[in-house]
């Protein structure tokens, strides 16, 4: 009797579940297709404001670690009353995901790198900004006023912030002389002592290495890879896998690894080097002969930002020469404001040249800035590997 009753109950539950399934598929959000860059971004026609009102008292930011340090944030809060609530993301993927999460009305701005920008723009997650509201915009280096990754058809989807390289971080105890090649992180002699970012874009770094060491592959751009070039890069990373102690997800992860002596060499941002040196760890960084990938960051405004005024106030603030210099020296990156060079010199002599803050425009063309790999190759064919495959390949590399 009882078992019959429960059997009937199960049947009912099953019927209900099936009904719910039907209902869920009948209604639901609209389908979206493609993501080709030929279409207009969804927010292209959103008119940005012409004036900035009073601050709303709060600002929610998605940022890289080290981008919202107290040393310049406190002053901002004191002047504008906007309390900064920062969430640190470890990769561009995470930034894109956070911006979309929860319906997109959670965060005001994101300090997105080049490989996240287009995805955010074409996903409708960010909207155009009015550069006239940023007083220092005219002092920006020409390249960074309207770079291809954040300006489309003359519409600015964000304000450039800073840029920098992905460096080779090493322990000076193990390597008294700076390594001259990225080969050290692929060298079996360093088994169990290497760390690299847990980020699919790392495949580009492998491609960059192969660009010089296996020129027969013909790699011209580490983000535009044919199947053969892609497979070679993935194979290199799979070879590297036994050497890795841990794939770092946050800068803090890597700092802990080096501090504890768990790793002796790895791919890093300048931020880790500065933090480790401040903690008296015996490390240094360098850019090997094969060159390096880099990133150009943009503060982008969310489409449904809850505090747009604070967002504009913040963007204007971090574009001023003083804050640009402070952030550059704190993180180890390069400001986009040409007037920041002088400020950097007063804070730390020689830093302007060290971080290439006074480099000519042609210099930026030599850096392989992060960008989203798409299927369209430079020659117009559709045989390059799009980013989704980078993600699946990365899972199989790190599994």
């Amino acid at each position: 009797m009882r078992s019959m009753a429960s059997l009937a109950a199960w049947r009912r539950l099953g019927l209900f579940a099936a009904a719910a399934l039907f209902v869920a598929t009948a209604c639901g959000s609209t389908t979206t297709t493609g993501g080709s860059t030929a279409q207009q971004p969804p927010t292209a026609n959103t008119k940005p404001p012409t004036t900035v009102g009073p601050g709303e008292g709060q600002l929610n930011l998605i940022a890289w670690e080290g981008y919202t340090d107290k040393s310049w944030v406190d002053q901002f809060t004191a002047t504008t009353g906007c309390k900064v609530n920062a969430k640190y993301a470890g990769s561009s993927d995470e930034m894109v995901s956070l911006m979309k999460g929860g319906g997109g009305g959670q965060w005001d701005m994101v300090s997105a790198s080049g490989d996240a920008d287009l995805r955010l723009i074409y996903g409708g997650d960010v909207k155009p900004m009015n550069t006239a509201l940023i007083s220092d915009f005219n002092n920006f280096q020409t390249f960074f006023k309207a770079p291809g990754y954040n300006t489309i058809n003359g519409v600015h989807y964000g304000i450039s912030l800073q840029w920098g390289p992905n460096t080779l971080l090493y322990s000076t105890k193990k390597f008294p002389n700076a390594p001259t090649s990225w080969s050290v992180i692929y060298d079996p002699a360093n088994k169990g002592l290497v760390t690299v970012p847990d980020n699919p874009i790392q495949i580009a770094d492998a491609a960059l290495y192969l660009m010089k060491t296996q020129s027969s592959l013909g790699i011209k751009d580490p983000y535009e890879l044919t199947q053969k070039q892609f497979d070679a890069s993935v194979a290199l990373l799979k070879q590297q896998r036994p050497l890795i102690k841990k794939y770092w997800g946050t800068a803090g992860d890597e700092i802990t690894l080096f501090q504890n002596g768990d790793v002796v060499v790895g791919a890093a941002w300048p931020y880790q080097t500065i933090q480790l040196k401040a903690a008296n760890a015996p490390v240094a960084d360098t850019i090997p002969s094969e060159g390096a990938t880099g990133w150009g960051d943009t503060w982008m405004l969310a489409t449904n930002a809850p505090h747009p005024n604070c967002a504009y106030l913040w963007t204007a603030y971090v574009s001023t020469p003083k804050v640009q210099a402070e952030q550059a020296l704190f993180f180890g990156e390069t400001p986009v404001n040409t007037k920041a060079c002088a400020e950097m010199e007063t804070l730390q002599a020689g830093s302007c040249a060290q971080y290439h803050a006074d480099a000519p425009g042609s210099y930026f063309n030599t850096i392989k800035f992060w960008k989203t790999p798409i299927a369209t190759c430079p020659d117009g064919s559709n045989s390059c590997i799009p980013y989704a495959q980078w993600q699946t390949a990365w899972t199989s590399i790190t599994a």
Binding site: S6, A9, L13, K87, G102, G103, Q106, T250, G252, D253
Partner: protein, 268 residues
């Protein structure tokens, strides 16, 4: 009876297991007083400075406030809903009772990450922005189960004859409930509430997926451990969380004689 040597061996084993269970927890309390901000052993010295530093940190205070609020609201909601469910399941037999019982166990039987991503998908499909209320919804869902378990277990142990006796003596339904049933189950209700609060306060897996730009205390802890810069404050906060989750459970155990707290997996 067991031999002398067997008994001794078992006693030693029990002692070792107890040490294994408690040393890590006691260690954290030690580290909270660590003068150095490098977490190494042995500890160079003891200080109270991290306590004031933690208290003065606005981020931590906001996270604590949010955790407390979410805990209280989730507990209140789950008390109401869980008790109703327990009463319904207990005395009345109806069609589908087994299925409903299974349904109420599901939030704790399924891994937390599945509940988390399911709720996340549900909210994003429904166009509900993540906020304090979505956190509360997530917490309430499994807190209901805890209250339900406790109240139901107690109801099963109370004698139905007491209620019948009260009615024989002329009390109407409400009077019986107020004067007979409620006092009998009151301690289990309180115990359920304490356990629900403890569960909600410590919850991190489901909350990660249902929180928007807010931080509850466990989310703050997880982030702070990964960023690695503020470990001394993490030590203090973690010690605090241990106390806040243990104390209600101890009270709950005393109220229910230990049974209620043991029936529920606590890893959230």
């Amino acid at each position: 009876m067991e031999g002398i040597w067997t008994k001794l061996a078992l006693r030693i084993w029990a002692g070792l297991i107890l040490l294994f269970l408690f040393i890590p927890i006691l260690l954290i309390f030690f580290y909270a007083f660590n003068t150095s901000n490098i977490e190494s052993w042995p500890i160079p010295g003891l200080t109270l400075k991290w306590f004031t530093a933690t208290w003065n940190d606005p981020e931590i205070r906001t996270a604590l406030g949010l955790s407390l609020q979410a805990g209280l609201v989730a507990t209140a909601l789950s008390l109401a809903l869980g008790s109703c469910a327990a009463f319904a399941i207990h005395r009345m037999t109806f069609f589908g009772k087994d299925a409903v019982s299974l349904l109420f166990v599901l939030p704790l039987a399924l891994p937390g990450i599945i509940t988390g991503i399911a709720l996340n998908a549900f909210f994003s499909f429904g166009g509900v922005p993540l906020s304090f209320w979505t956190i509360v919804v997530g917490h309430t869902t499994f807190c209901i189960v805890v209250v339900y378990n406790n109240v139901l277990a107690r109801l099963r142990r109370t004698q139905g004859s007491l209620v019948e006796a009260a009615m024989d003596l002329g009390a109407n339904g409400f009077q019986t409930f107020r004067d007979v049933t409620l006092p009998l189950i009151s301690t289990s209700v309180v115990a359920g509430a304490m356990l629900a609060f403890a569960l909600s306060f410590d919850e991190v897996i489901v909350t990660t997926f249902t929180a928007g730009a807010q931080n509850t205390l466990p989310i703050w802890i997880f982030g702070a451990i990964r960023l690695g810069q503020r470990l001394p404050e993490v030590n203090v906060v973690v010690s605090f969380v241990i106390l806040v989750t243990i104390v209600p459970v101890v009270i709950a155990a005393r109220l229910t004689g230990g049974g209620g707290a043991a029936r529920v997996p606590a890893a959230r």
